[in-house]
Amino acid sequence: MKPSELEAGWFPAGLQNYVLPKTAGRVVIADNDIALWRGEDGQIRAWENRCPHRGMRLSYGIVRGNTLTCLYHGWSYDGAGACAGIPAHPELTPPKTIRAKAYRAADAGGFIWVANPGETTAPPSIDGDWVPNRSVHIDATPVSLNELAEGMGAGLVSKITDHAGIVRVHGVEEEILLAFLDMKKHGAMIHTSVPASASEDVAIAVSKLTSRLRQVFKASSAA
């Protein structure tokens, strides 16, 4: 079975360090609730955030080795999404039809990227060495990458997707990666990465500029 559909293309779902090895986390892409997790192998996985058993959020799950165990009744799933064990029936080999619904997921440029299972394009390839910098929640989603860059006082150098690009920020030496994730009723997340060679001062300056975007993209009702 397929998970609920995203729009075509790759979405910047979060910073790479949002989900550390052996942990799980929750992300919303448009109207889709998604569990991200990494096994001890470090590989990022994105699944529909519903346990096939009774619908518990899998983002609350416990990662052991390279399996994810649902918090509710302990059903566990292997890295490919196949059910690997049901505690209430330890003797049973779980039927092959019980599977978590998986999206495509990849790491690039300090970000985690997610796409539909049937996405035919490769994940973005981003030159250079990047480190995750900052993720900030904003109330109102920018209409475009250009509007976001403008709100940051940045100039767009090159576009990676409709939601991510390399920008040059006024007063900051290095070019940075800037992306946004539309979460519809939840507003949006802004993500930034900086070159691995960036100084601590640059990292902090970019983080502060990113958090200032909350004032730029306010809910229209908030005065």
């Binding site: 360090n17 609350y60 900052r134 983080s207 502060k208």
Partner: protein, 208 residues
Amino acid sequence: MKLYDYVLSGNCYKIRLLLDFLELSHEKRAVDFFPGREHKSDEFLQINPLGQIPVLEDDGAYIRDAQAILVYLASRYDPTATWWPVNDPSELGRVAQWLAFADSITSTASAARLHDVLGYDLDVAQARAGAHRLFRILDDHLANQELQGFNWIAGSNPTVADIACFPYVALAGDGGIELFYYPAIQRWIRRFVNLPRFKLMPGINIFD
């Protein structure tokens, strides 16, 4: 030493956390907070006229207010002087500042949780908005601490400020406050639950 305690109280949980971190032997006296309202009984009001828990009894004296109890316990019983860093005035100032911040988390995030979980009659939209305002400040602070190589609220070591902020931040989901808006806070929660001798409270869904 005796703690007047209620299992589902985040403020009491702060004290249980520090008692465990410092491995202090103590007795717990369960207060029938819900539904019994024992904290408003004449007998309990003798112990704390504010009618609130937690209260700690030590050496024949009663101390109320979670933050005050944390300061008392750490200054008296922490031989390493790291949880309440008396020897470093500027760090100590930061710890005291975030202790006060923790109390405002109680009046916002915890209020939203009381509304959603125990059906308290209060303005939940206002409580949630207040919590989000504070969580943005905390997320900014923790993110910038990380970028400077510091894992904790006041610097390189966990202090009573981390303990005081932890429960109602980690329980905020119970009050309809979305923690996935705050990735730096989430990383800090994971570090906290991995501290030696940490024990989970019912309602906090984080496992590593």
